[in-house]
């Protein structure tokens, strides 16, 4: 009886240890997946003109190329920290493909930060979806956009663009002055959760419980009945 109790202690401890191990594996997998998603990727590997995988939304990317000559677009009525202003969307060409780069926020259409740097530059930023609200709205009479609309931007530039917007965080060489970086509206899509490992974690804890059910059935309930009629436990 003491032997069985010791066995139950050892077995349930093993089950709990295995459960904790599966639990830490679950967290490790999530962490590794998050690290993989947080590492910057060349923009054309994360998204193309034809589409993008769901994991690319919010993904940090790099882009090496040059700003194009096509018209730089302003998005009307965008405030930053309560100050009224506009967003600046500039065409950027990477290996022949045009990317819409949201360079940032300016306080007036006359801002010197609007100047587009010439020559090759390297961009770092994150990918965000184009805006859907008012996306079909035509440009204002003064030429400003109502929304970061893929349709309107492609019409203005006369070329298809990559299916996600690059929201600029860093530019090398930097522009001085530069539009103020805007915060991301859509955060990184979270990585898939390893349900299988999480389920195994729970199951190990359930098995630890079963060990004590067994202990209770065999040690506590059965012992006094050993001398009694056989079916006293099931009758």
């Amino acid at each position: 009886m003491i032997g069985l109790t010791l066995l139950a202690v050892a077995l349930s401890a093993l089950c709990v240890a295995a459960g904790l191990w599966q639990g830490s594996r679950t967290l490790d997998i999530v962490e590794a997946e998050r690290a993989a998603v947080a590492a910057p990727l060349p923009v054309l590997e994360a998204a193309s003109v034809d589409g993008f995988p769901a994991t690319s939304v919010g993904r940090p990317v790099t882009a090496e190329g040059a700003y194009a000559d096509a018209e730089q677009l302003l998005v009307a009525q965008r405030s930053l920290d309560g100050r009224p202003g506009e967003w600046v969307v500039t065409p950027f060409v990477v290996g022949g493909t045009t990317v819409a780069v949201l360079r940032g926020w300016i306080d007036s259409p006359a801002s010197p930060a609007l100047a587009v740097p010439a020559g090759p530059v390297r961009l770092e930023g994150a990918l965000q979806p184009f805006e859907e609200f008012y996306a079909e709205q035509a440009r204002l009479p003064d030429g400003r956009l109502v929304a970061v609309s893929r349709e309107e931007i492609e019409r203005a530039w006369g070329t298809p663009v990559v299916s996600l917007v690059l929201v600029l965080a860093r530019q090398d060489p930097a522009s001085v002055p530069a539009p103020a970086p805007v915060p991301l509206t859509v955060q990184t899509a979270d990585v898939p959760f390893p349900l299988q490992n999480a389920a195994y974690t729970l199951q190990w804890f359930v098995f630890a419980g079963f060990v004590w059910v067994m202990w209770w059935l065999w040690v506590v309930r059965r012992s006094p009945a050993e001398a009694g009629p056989e079916d006293s436990l099931t009758g």
């Binding site: 299988q196 389920a199 199951q203 079963f210 065999w218 059965r222 099931t234 009758g235």
Partner: protein, 112 residues
């Protein structure tokens, strides 16, 4: 003896369900994964992950049913543990099912 045949039926169902699923997972899906890498993405990846998750929870039920029948049959601890572990080895649960069913029938016949 009341409830013994019900307990046996529950155990047999669980032994077959977990046994068949485990056999399918290990005979078909493990080679697909480790031999051909076919479960890395797409519909097969989903089926593979769901299959093992289902097996995990079904095995929990198998253990519950196995504990129940083993206790009712007054199996020793070693026999009980053998019956429970059989659910983790491919095809072993069919033998466990056969053994338990035979023991129950013998016991029922003896007391009839």
């Amino acid at each position: 003896m009341k409830g013994l045949s019900g307990a046996l039926l529950r155990f047999r169902i669980m032994a077959w369900v977990t046994g068949v699923l485990l056999a399918v997972m290990s005979v078909i899906f493990l080679p697909l994964k480790y031999g051909f890498g076919l479960t890395d993405e797409g519909i097969l990846a989903t089926i593979y992950a769901l299959g093992w998750q289902a097996h995990g929870w079904l095995y929990v039920l198998y253990v519950a049913a196995g504990l129940d029948i083993s206790f009712r049959m007054r199996f020793t601890v070693v026999r009980t543990v053998a019956v429970l572990l059989a659910g983790t080895i491919p095809f072993a649960s069919f033998f466990a099912d056969h053994y338990v069913a035979r023991s129950v029938r013998a016991k029922l016949d003896a007391t009839a």
